[in-house]
Structures are given as structure tokens and as C-alpha cells.
């Protein structure tokens, strides 16, 4: 049985990373979390992943710094990186460090399409699930508001 593709989500905002993890797990991916770029690099040292999805602004080490570190690393330079941001203007259109940019808010379908494209269309372990909610197109995935 093939192992599930692994994804590392890097985001400092409470709730959003957990929600993405649950969503991607439902689709059969193996997902881990880090709350900043430095902790993400620590995780990558322990076990390489197939894809990194990172926020831009974070404490300690931001998404741009994380991507730069990964691109100069012998072991991590080949890992595709998706940047999540609500401020796409802050990222140069052709930033070679990133394979894709996900603009918040995004739909679950857009997330899944981006993930699959970056993983070179490798199907997730649980791809046979009638995964997407029929209403998913209309449902924007926003950062959860944990105070509610």
C-alpha cells in the first residue's frame, strides 16, 4: 500500500492551521504543523515532507525566509512550497521560491487543486472519497474565528 503524501503546514494563526490539517487529512494526506519557519525547519530535519504550505508573516522566521532556507538546502530544495496569503501584492508575481500562491480566502477545491498540482498530480491515499462537499464551491474557507 503506497504511503500517503506528507504535507507540512506552517502558520502562526491559531485555528487556521488546525482546520487545514483536518481538511487535508480527510483527503488522505499525512499532515503536520509548525507555528513558524524555524520550527518548520526543525521538523524538516527530522523527516522530509512532500509539500510545504506556509503563511507569509510569522514570528521568528517568516514564510519568505523559510522558503529561502529551503531553496539553499541540499535536502529540502526540491520540496514544493505553496505560499498562503491574504496580501498577494506583498509577494512578487514571479517569486522563484514558491511553486504556487494561495490567496486567502480560498475554497477547499482550490486548496486541493493546488496541492495536487504541486504534488505533481500524485493522488492522495484517500482520493477515492467523494471528498468535496457538493456545496464546497460556494463555501469559502476563511481563517476560523476562534473567539466565536
Amino acid at each position: 500500500m503506497p504511503t500517503a503524501p506528507s504535507i507540512l503546514i506552517v502558520d502562526d494563526e491559531f485555528g487556521l492551521a488546525e482546520m487545514l490539517r483536518e481538511m487535508l487529512r480527510e483527503y488522505g494526506y499525512d499532515v503536520s504543523l509548525a507555528i513558524n519557519g524555524r520550527l518548520a525547519l526543525d521538523i524538516l530535519k527530522e523527516r522530509p515532507v512532500d509539500l510545504v504550505i506556509t503563511d507569509m508573516m510569522m514570528p521568528v522566521m517568516d514564510g519568505g525566509e523559510l522558503a529561502s532556507e529551503m531553496r539553499t538546502s541540499e535536502t529540502h530544495r526540491g520540496i514544493p512550497i505553496v505560499m498562503m496569503t491574504s496580501l498577494p501584492a506583498a509577494i512578487p508575481r514571479q517569486d522563484p521560491r514558491f511553486d504556487a500562491v494561495l490567496r486567502k480566502p480560498f475554497t477547499p477545491e482550490h486548496l486541493l487543486t493546488t496541492v495536487r498540482r504541486c504534488l505533481d498530480a500524485s493522488p492522495p491515499a484517500n482520493d477515492s472519497l467523494p471528498a468535496l462537499n457538493p456545496r464546497a464551491d460556494a463555501l469559502k474557507v476563511r481563517d476560523p474565528d476562534p473567539s466565536r
Partner: protein
Amino acid sequence: MPESRPPARRPTGIAGLDRILEGGLLASGVYLVQGPPGAGKTILANQACFHHASIGGHAVYVTLLAESHSRMFGHLRRMTFFNEAAIPDHVYYIGGYSALASGGLEALVTLIRGAIQKHKATLLVVDGLISAQESSPTDQAFKKFLHEIQTLADLTECTVILLTNAERASGFFPEHTMVDGVLHLTDEVSELRPLRHIRVLKLRGSAPVRGLHSVRITDKGFEVRPRIETLSPQEPMREGVPRDDAKLGFGVAEIDAMLRGGFRQGAVTMLLGSSGSGKTLLGMQFLSEGIKRGETALYFGFYERPESILAKCQRVGIGGLNQGVEQGLAQLLWHRPVEGVIDELGESLIHTVRTLRPRRLFIDGMEGFERATDFPERLSHVYAAIAQELECLGVTTIYTTETRELFAQRIEVPIHGLSAATHNIILLRHIEHRASMLRVMVILKVRDDDYDGRMRELRITDHGIQLLDTFAAESRVASGGGVSNEMRLKDGEE
């Protein structure tokens, strides 16, 4: 003895707030902004960050269990101060709750310290302080956290703004004693009108303008209007306000003769009268005469729209107003008489007068200010402040106010406190006279000047305003009980 320098301040960029705060927040100060949800805390703090960025500073915005960043940006995008280009180089957003949840207050302080150093921040916002307090194992630990934030602010010369919800279960407020300032925001509804206010509860090292001040949230962001009565009036004789002894008249020979030429520069005159008594047209006649003389004129009204008034003036032969507007001599400002804020109206009036420098001003419907007041007891102070400022700015002002009764023996000024702020009073009203309704005018008061106190008929014709001696041989006209002197003699009154 070394010369003491005033402490460095960081303006928030919110003009009214900076005025209340004596210029802004102290460079190493820690400030608490508290208020209920929707009072504008987040907007205020973000606006301060973007202003700080606009003058070359760096700001870090840390959210705890507050609005998520993308949701916040979604709301802020419609505000004119929001400048996406300043993110992330000058304004940097980070989430602090994960650190707080995993490592407690100690981890949060480490995160904040690291962010200040890394981004060379001189302004820090912590949004959702209540989460830090609730995560604190003891009151002492929370006090220690605040102390560490204070120390950090001192060491880095970073101004810190802490945002928190004022409505909380705990009665423990150590942050009030441990910060340099407390700004309290409120959001209430009065007679169906939303009213937001800001109040400085505490401000170390400053002499703030105390009390409640109006707040509005618009697409420009968080706007503060300090109470108009706290304005420092302009110096009366300062440069740019030329004084002369020439009187300003209506251009109606009979009225000007009664006033011995007109009003003195800087005088404030009340046109008191019932509905339809000719107040607005008389005020417009005053502006029209100024424009004919090449003077600048300002109309400031609440009820009739300017275009309607201009058309009416044209119909009755009060000319020159349209041309005055076209030539830039005259400006007509109209405000909806509802949903206003008295301080905003007052500021708009005074700002326009300071900018346009009109020689003549006509305020049509002083009740517009009354309707916009949050606290009626303020009105007399507000009028006094506005009148004083207008006088100091050298503008000669006429305003109208409406009496409630059309026919009455007793006439009261409808708005409390107006008379004290007024130099001259002219009464206009209707009277029944020989089975006809007539408009009458009488001068009740001219401060420090002689005047003709006779009652005259005011007639509005297609060719302008006329004053007639209809009642020369009668008495008690103003009270509505006019009787000829011949009759009085017959009745043996004299």
C-alpha cells in the same frame, strides 16, 4: 541644572485623538485601549500602525484570540489609511495565540521581544489582551507579564498599545495601574442614533482633554472629534484677520438705517422668528449684499437644500448668489439634519470658516446643532464656543432660530443658552392686522450700539425685501394685539 525636554511623542495620525492626547502617545509608553466589541479598537490601532509606517516607522501587530488577519484585512481594505504596500516591511502581523497556548505568557513575551527586535518596531499592538489575562495562572503572573512588556517598551523605545474588551467577568484590572494611559471606547444607541465616544481615563505625563469626545468610524477610519467647547479660540487680532470699523448691512436701506448702518465685524446676530416669517430670505439677503460688495460669504444650513434656496432667492429678487458661487466668493454647505454629531458639525463650520475666511456667514437653522447633540446640557457651552471662535475669526454671523408658536404674546428663545452667545437679536413674526397676516420685524437688541426699535412690516416682493411703516400709528403690535393709537386714546389708556 540640565534643561528638561518634553518627552518624545508618537502621533497616532488620528488628528482629534492626538489633540486630546497632547500630541500623541509617549515613545516608550504602554497604553490600554478598552471597549466593547465594535467600538473601533482594532481600527484605531491599525490606523496608528499605518500612520507610523507612513512616517518611516515600523509597527508589529500581534493578535491573540482576536480577529484573524485575513478577516481583519478584509475589513480594513475599505479604509483609506490601509496601505497594503506597507505590509510586511513597515507593518507586520503575527499571531501570538499559538505561542501563548503552548508556552504561556513567557512564550508570548519571548515572541513579542523577538518581533520587536527583528522588525525594529517602534510601535507594537497586542490585540486581545484578555486572552493573555485568561491564560495567566495567577493575577501575579499577569502583572509580571505587563511589567515585562513595560520593561521591553522602555528598553526599545517602543510604544505599546494593548487592546482589550472592557466587558469582562473578572473584576481584576491590574493593567489599569500598570500602564501609562487608558483610553475607554463606548458604543451606544441614543434615540435610535448610534453614538460612539472615547474617554481618556488615565494619561501619565500629559494633560489630556478630559471627558467624552465623539467618535465616528467612516471609510477614513477612526475619527475623533474633541468636544467643541474645549477649542482654544484663535487670537482675535492675529495676522490674517483684518479688522475694520465698517459696518456690514443688508443692502436694504430701511433695515440698514434701523441698524445705523449694519452689524459690526465679528458680531453674532440671531434672527428669531416663526416658520415662514422670512428668516432665511433675510439671511440670504445679508449674504447677497456681501457678494455684491465683493466679499466672501458662507451659507451653512440644515433644512432647505442650497439649490432650492438659490431658486427661491432668485424668484424674490435676491440676486448675485449664483454668480457668487460661480466666482468662488460664496460657498453653500448643507448638512442633513439627522444622524449628525454636534462636534462634527461644529468642526465642519469652524474648519470651513478658517479655510474660506468668509466676511459674512449665515447659519440657517441653529436647531440643526440641537438635533445633533448627544447631551442637551452641552448646548449652551457649544454655542458659546462656536460664537467665540467665529467672533475671533472676524466673520460677521447671522443665524436663524425658530420660535415654536406662530401667534403668541410671549416669545421665548427656543434653544437654551443661545442668547448669551449672541450680540444682536432681530425678531421676525406674523401678526394679524386688519384681517390680514403680515410679516413684521423688530430689532430687540444690538450690543453696544444704537438702533431703531420700531416695529416694521417686512414685505417680500418679486423685487426683494422691503420694510414698511405700516404700524407707525399703532401699539402692542408685537404681542399680536395691535391697536391704533387713536383707539387707545378713545379707550382712555393715556
